[in-house]
């Protein structure tokens, strides 16, 4: 009897470890998937508070610190995109969030916010060189945010809208001139993920202004499949612009973010990238995470992927939430959300909630990814 009770106790302990953590960490997954307004609003309010704090502080990253600059830019961009997606899903929230979307989008367009890119291009400013041949694809992130702001806020400042028009026209011209469907982010470096953001920005500009960009979107979509997509289903992280040669491995972080950005431009391309991404999911005890490198490739973590542990990356896993929700991969969404909750450490509740580990950039990214869907092209 003693031995049987001890065996039953061990079995109960094992079953608890198998099922309880997954159940606890996934307790909100279904609510995020179906777009629970209370959850969405609680995270949105955290980002509204961040934008107010940032406006008061006007924190400016040093031009020489490329990564700090990219993080600041992405934080404002993702805040704008996340809030814009909420407004598309809940038009009655527009009065509250449209001014914040515009403020966040305008922050991404400030010259000091792109100083890291200007420095990388040896002093050439992206908006001061729209007639030139250099890609400056990093500015597609702000361009996408500004496009969504213009779509939702009829009072968006006209002078910035004119700059946006000029930038989009430059991107369209550069992309149509590229045989590989790639344009440079920094000198000699092209990132398919950034070019997916370029395509997204062009497409959203079309939605906001009525301009017809179908030709350039089709040009880009055809070249994603021909030049940028690896047989693994992941996109190459970094490539040569003219020859289309890979300069890095096919990676999950780039593919996850590209799938999100591609959704703004072309639903079919985004769904294809999502399928490739989910082929690289690793699961354990009901938790899911995305492997950073395609089979046959290996490497360590960097600023794109975040830490890579046991082959899976923080960024690829977080990015995967967006296509999982947008394209209805509910089981994958649930498994990946459990991992996000486990390591993201959601705190607060009621009126405001946040993921404590990620800080403002983590919360902005998660707002955009956990509410992805309404922005996807028809």
């Amino acid at each position: 009897v003693i031995r049987a009770r001890r065996a039953a106790a061990v079995a109960a302990a094992i079953l608890a470890a198998r099922f309880l953590p997954a159940a606890w960490c996934g307790r909100d997954a279904a609510a995020w998937m179906r777009g629970d307004p209370a959850l969405q609003q609680a995270l949105a309010e955290e980002l509204v508070a961040f934008e107010a704090r940032d406006e008061a502080r006007r924190a400016v990253p040093a031009a020489s610190d490329r990564f700090a600059g990219e993080w600041a830019l992405v934080t404002h961009q993702m805040t704008a995109l996340g809030l814009a997606q909420l407004c598309l899903a809940h038009p009655e929230w527009k009065a509250r969030y449209a001014p914040v979307i515009t403020r966040a989008a305008l922050a991404t367009f400030r010259p000091e916010m792109r100083a890291f890119g200007t420095e990388a291009w040896h002093g050439e400013d992206a908006l001061g060189s729209v007639a030139g041949p250099h890609g400056h694809a990093y500015l597609s992130y702000p361009a996408l945010a500004v496009g969504m702001a213009r779509l939702l806020d009829p009072t968006f400042p006209k002078d910035v809208a004119a700059q946006h028009d000029a930038l989009i026209a430059a991107y369209e011209r550069r992309l149509l001139a590229s045989e590989t469907g790639l344009i440079e982010t920094y000198p000699g470096e092209a990132y398919p993920t950034d070019v997916a953001a370029v395509a997204g920005a062009i497409a959203v500009h079309g939605r906001a202004t009525g301009a017809d960009h179908r030709r350039v979107i089709a040009h880009w979509a055809a070249r994603v499949e021909r030049h940028q997509l690896h047989e693994s289903g992941l996109v190459i992280q970094r490539m040569g612009v003219d020859d289309g040669h890979p300069h890095d491995a096919p990676r999950g972080s780039g593919t996850g973010l590209a799938a999100y950005f591609a959704g703004f431009a072309d639903r079919r391309v985004a769904a294809r990238l999502a399928d490739g991404l989910f082929r690289h999911e690793s699961t354990f005890l009901g938790f899911g995470a995305i492997r950073e490198y395609a089979d046959g490739h290996e490497g360590s973590g960097d600023v794109d992927s975040g830490p890579v542990l046991l082959g899976v990356s923080v960024a690829a896993t977080g990015f995967a939430l967006a296509p999982a929700r947008a394209f209805g991969h509910e089981d994958a969404f649930t498994r990946i959300y459990r991992t996000t909750d486990l390591f993201g450490l959601r705190v607060g509740g009621g009126a405001r909630t946040r993921f404590a580990v990620g800080g403002p950039i983590g919360n902005a990214l998660l707002l955009a990814f956990l509410t992805s869907g309404p922005e996807v092209a028809p």
Partner: protein, 79 residues
């Protein structure tokens, strides 16, 4: 039964209480930046606390329920 419950739950409850206090402390200290910034960790205290909280969270979620169940079900050692 009461003695059995107290014996099974006292230690785990203490661990859970410490964990919940540390989570709130970490949430308060990391409100500005989170655990990681592009230039590295925000500061040593937040980094150590954050990693400690995450390790404790793994223990609380994956180990603690099993410990409680084991203590409730397995036969007690003779006094």
């Amino acid at each position: 039964v009461k003695a059995l419950l107290v014996r099974a739950l006292r230690g785990p409850a203490l661990v859970l209480a410490v964990y919940l206090v540390l989570v709130q402390l970490f949430a308060w200290l990391s409100a500005e930046d989170g655990l990681i910034k592009p230039s590295g960790m925000p500061d040593l205290l937040v980094a150590v606390l954050g990693l400690g909280v995450l390790l404790l969270r793994l223990g609380v979620l994956f180990v603690l329920p099993g410990v409680v169940l084991y203590r409730l079900i397995a036969p007690r050692k003779p006094e």
